[in-house]
């Protein structure tokens, strides 16, 4: 672990030094996507500049090198989440595609009429809509686990909703709206007792906390590269090898085949069976560079920094009597994501006004409409931090929120 030098870290990210509306950028929308350090930008550019060939085919030097770089990236991901084998690491375009892959290739095949699929009410639409589709097609039922008054999930609710009829549980490790961190290890343990498989949506959690798929004992885990300082367009599906082996391919085409005859095809082995078409080699290389960058800083230092930011932001937001904060009050129980509402000011107006002060935050339903309906809040404003945010940026946010308030008095 290197010394946590925030100035040095910020200098690694070219976008952070830019100005927006003639004000220094204060980027607090990291739950949507993160900025990219120079090493990631360089790794992608270098790949296209110096190699750029279609992997897994051709005997020429560039093709062989592209294959090696792509497979080395897979190995970096495997090590990062502590999977047993790189056969268990499937590159997708994002977490959403990975969830769709599971829904089609596992859900549609294994879930039958009368079975139950259990989700948490705080899921992102990407972890709801594919399961609604499976439930509808297979005449299965969809059940939601609801949150308690602290906006956390009580294990009693888990035990109530996961039953002998449950075939699959899909849950985000961290809520993208509330920042709540869910007890996924306990959920997996209970679901396995009931014979269900568990999908963990790690889109929010994987960039912020050490994720060990073998420790959690997850059956599937998905995440996106771009929320972890990697490029957009690269995501990861982890699946236990025995499950992936039994699943039919999701997309058909080149690179996922063994033999193709006029009427029939045999499929390639793992992980290629699930990677049809030319893969995003540049994206995979960029993701691996981001993982290496993150690993150099280390989760311990990152966590310490994020707790400091979250604690300070919660304290400063509480000073504003017209602000309501959602989610757990204890910063140790949540990730660096805070949703809030301001009395008398709609979140879109908040976002537009603070934008003129250079502050980027998210407003709206955060792709979690069932949660917003459950919270009886049609929309909220959301700030989310990462490695490069500072206490000073939170001060700028608070000052700009005070200015927002003046428009609506």
């Amino acid at each position: 672990m290197r010394n946590f030098d925030i100035e040095k870290i910020r200098n690694d990210f070219p976008a952070l030094s830019r100005y927006v509306h003639e004000k220094p950028l204060v980027y607090l929308d990291n739950a949507a996507t993160t900025h990219k350090p120079q090493v990631v930008l360089d790794s992608v550019a270098d790949y296209y500049r110096s190699f750029n060939a279609n992997p897994h085919r051709g005997a020429h030097f560039l093709g062989v090198t592209a294959t090696e770089l792509y497979e080395a990236s897979r190995e970096t991901v495997r090590d990062f989440i502590n999977a047993s084998s790189s056969n268990e690491i499937i590159f997708t375009k994002n977490a959403t595609e990975a969830l769709n892959l599971i829904a089609y290739s596992y859900g549609m095949v294994n879930i039958e009429e009368g079975d139950e699929i259990v989700l948490c009410i705080s899921e992102h639409h990407s972890n709801i809509v594919p399961w609604q589709n499976v439930a509808k097609s297979k005449k299965a039922s969809l059940k939601y686990m609801y949150l308690d008054e602290n906006h956390t999930l009580d294990l009693k609710e888990v035990y109530r909703k996961i039953t002998d009829k449950t075939k699959l549980v899909s849950i985000a490790h961290m809520s993208n709206v509330l920042g709540t961190i869910y007890p996924v290890k306990e959920i997996v343990e209970y679901a396995h007792q009931k014979g269900a498989v568990v999908v963990i949506d790690g889109a929010q959690s994987v960039p912020h906390m050490k994720t060990d798929v073998r420790y959690i004992d997850a059956d599937f885990l998905v995440f996106s590269g771009h929320k972890l300082m990697g490029p957009m367009g690269i995501g990861v599906l982890y699946g236990r090898e025995e499950l992936l082996l039994g699943m039919p391919p999701f997309l058909m085409g080149g690179d996922m085949i063994e033999y193709v005859e006029e009427e029939t095809t045999t499929y390639a082995e793992l992980p290629y069976k699930f990677e049809a078409g030319t893969p995003n080699v540049g994206g995979a290389i960029g993701l691996a560079a981001a993982i290496e960058y993150l690993s150099e800083i280390g989760f311990e230092a990152l966590h310490k920094h994020e707790i400091e930011l979250t604690t300070y932001a919660l304290k400063r937001l509480k000073e504003l009597p017209y602000v309501t904060i959602y989610g757990h009050k204890n910063p140790e129980q949540r990730g660096p994501v805070i949703s809030f509402s301001m009395k008398g000011c709609h979140p879109h107006d908040v976002a537009s006004i603070v934008d003129t002060y250079g502050v980027a935050l998210r407003a709206g339903h955060h792709c979690a409409q069932p949660l917003m309906a459950y919270l009886k809040a049609p929309a909220s404003s959301r700030i989310s931090f990462y490695i490069y945010n500072t206490i000073q940026e939170i001060d700028i946010l608070i000052d700009s929120l005070k200015k927002v308030r003046k428009w609506f008095l």
């Binding site: 709609h346 879109h348 107006d349 537009s352 006004i353 709206g364 049609p378």
Partner: protein
Amino acid sequence: MSLESIYTDIILENSRSDHNRKHLDCANCIERGHNPSCGDDIVIELIIKDGTVVDAAFTGSGCAISQASTSMMIDLIRSKSVDEAKVLADTFLAMIKKIIEEESDLEILEDAIAFKNISNMPARVKCAVLAWHTLKEAIKRKQA
């Protein structure tokens, strides 16, 4: 872009005004308008008799821009013919798209001209036009 040109007094006043926010007992034309990406959600209710918008109202929730735009549209179309309401909607949308820029061509919009500058804030255009698209949809369905 200045906030003052967007959040004008007239828009802020109308965003707070509740005089058009109600249900109509005998509404015969009801249309929901929704911005799926941000959650602005309105329902406009019209009483249309003999080709005239006899009364109009709305309910729903959203940002200051969407709510002010809806309320000002309701004020504008009340007692107008359906054809006039359609012309108003087309004119408003053309103003936002900068297809019509001449002040004299925009006069029929009265106070709703205040939304002209929203085209300088692209992220909020959809908030301003929601009610007007909803109105066009309502009329289209009523006439179908």
